[in-house]
């Protein structure tokens, strides 16, 4: 773990009524590809949303040494009722690019995810895997410095999942930091550099990927791996 981190989370809390969804979380993100793991309801998705700014913490803070441009891909791809191309252009238009630039960048993004042939198809008529690739193209076209993904392959078949993993690796190779959650341990092992393990809203462990799977440091993590493994 090198000394420079891109995000410091300090005592982050999110309380709803009497439930502590995120409970006094403190850690530093420094890896290029971080995977957040944990049992159902642990708070993985909530943590990602807090970092992305979709939710506001009730306590603690997020400290960014340098502000990072972000994009997020959700478990279920959210497609507007228009073409795949127009969906990708939408995000670019919001950033203020000119019409010609928007189209150019969008087409490039779709080509990078292998969907240039389907650019003019109505997005909602595409398959689940294709829609998720459009979502990735839409995020990638914005050239984010941090790409957040919330269980991106949970609703996809194995073949589409592999496609999506390949694209995520390409985006990482192009220089973006990746922060994602997944239930697929194999995927975590394939893609991740560092694992953050969260349980009942608390950060339990932060370990490099191989070490997490071979020698988890905490009991909770050991229990989790045992239950999740086939």
């Amino acid at each position: 773990m090198n000394g420079t981190h891109w995000l410091a989370v300090n005592g982050l809390s999110l309380t709803e009524g009497s439930t502590r969804i995120i409970d006094d979380a403190s850690l530093r993100f420094g890896a290029q590809h971080t995977v957040v793991l944990g049992p159902n309801g642990a708070g993985k998705s909530t943590l990602l949303r807090l970092i992305h700014g979709l939710l506001h913490p009730t306590g603690g803070s997020l400290d960014w040494p340098r502000a990072l441009s972000q994009a997020m891909v959700f478990q279920r791809p959210v497609m507007l009722r228009t073409t795949a191309l127009a969906n990708v252009i939408y995000g670019l238009k919001l950033k203020g690019h000119s019409a010609t630039e928007c189209e150019q960048r969008a087409r490039q993004a779709l080509a990078r995810v292998g969907l240039d042939a389907l650019a003019k198809r109505p997005a909602r008529l595409l398959s689940g895997g294709e829609q998720q690739r459009v979502a990735l193209a839409r995020a990638w076209a914005l050239e984010p410095q941090l790409l957040i993904l919330d269980e991106p392959t949970a609703s996809l078949d194995p073949a589409s999942s592999r496609e999506v993993e390949r694209i995520i690796k390409d985006i990482a190779a192009a220089g973006a930091r990746i922060l994602m959650t997944t239930h697929n341990l194999g995927q975590a092992r394939r893609l991740g550099e560092e694992i953050v393990f969260i349980d009942r809203g608390r950060i339990v462990e932060q370990t490099p990927v191989e070490q997490f799977f071979t020698q988890p440091q905490t009991e909770a993590a050991q229990r989790f791996l045992k239950e999740e493994s086939p």
């Binding site: 949303r49 992305h52 979709l54 972000q70 994009a71 997020m72 959700f74 959210v78 497609m79 507007l80 009722r81 228009t82 939408y90 995000g91 919001l94 950033k95 109505p122 997005a123 909602r124 008529l125 839409r138 914005l142």
Partner: protein, 234 residues
């Protein structure tokens, strides 16, 4: 039951005979109500969308208000618009009373709350689906409202149709502000009211059947178009 036979026959004869006066009355009904619905959509849809995605003090009160205004009695709207447009009233100098324009204004006022309230419902449902993604992409609330209005256009056509249905079927507002003037402001509903009061029930009923047929036809076309569009866009 044979009381219904004669009106059916009369209705058919009127339509088949391409009665010029009837055609004029039907066209006037359609143009007044369509224009009013168009205005109501232009005014009401953005309001509905902003109520759905917005966050501002008094929002809940406005939602309840619009929902309640859906039940505005047409005759009350007619009376209020009459008082506004009367020569003795604040907008009298425009001389709009007893003209198709007055009828359009009254129906637009009547229909806007319906369109706004139904739009709010449609957009609120859309918003719950799109909210996170649109916010992630950096859309402001007003930008999101505009995006969802376009995206929800098929469901919104139902809101527009509901508004149109209300407009073309009402008689209270257009009777008061239009004056049911022969050849100028006489529409289907006021004609039916007139023929009923003259005791010519078969003719009134026949006109009623024609009105229902026109409305059904418009609904059928809209339904078909919506089906095609949904199959095409998903």
């Amino acid at each position: 039951m044979h009381e219904f036979n004669e009106p059916f026959v009369t209705a058919w004869q009127l339509v088949a005979g391409a009665d010029a006066r009837l055609a004029g009355i039907v066209l006037l009904s359609l143009s007044v109500s369509l224009t009013a619905t168009l205005i109501a959509c232009v005014a009401g849809m953005p309001v509905g969308a902003l109520l759905a995605v917005g966050r501002f003090p008094g929002r809940r009160v406005l939602i309840v208000l619009f929902n309640g205004l859906m039940g505005l009695p047409p005759v009350v709207v007619g009376l209020l618009i009459y008082l506004l447009l009367s020569r003795a009233g604040p907008l009298g100098q425009f001389g709009l009373l007893f003209s198709p324009a007055a009828m359009v204004i009254a129906q637009a006022v009547l229909v806007t709350p319906i369109v706004a309230a139904l739009t709010r419902q449609v957009i609120a449902d859309e918003w719950s689906e799109y909210r996170e993604q649109l916010r992630s992409l950096g859309a402001s609330r007003s930008r999101a409202a505009a995006t969802l209005l376009w995206d929800g256009r098929f469901s919104l056509s139902t809101a527009a149709l509901a508004g149109f249905g209300r407009a073309i079927a009402e008689v209270g507002a257009v009777m008061i502000v239009g004056g049911n003037i022969d050849g100028v402001t006489r529409v289907m509903t006021t004609t039916i009211a007139l023929e009923t009061s003259k005791g010519d029930l078969p003719l009134a009923l026949a006109l009623g059947f024609i009105l229902i047929a026109v409305v059904l036809a418009i609904n059928a076309v809209a339904y078909a178009m919506r089906g095609w569009a949904e199959r095409h866009w998903g």
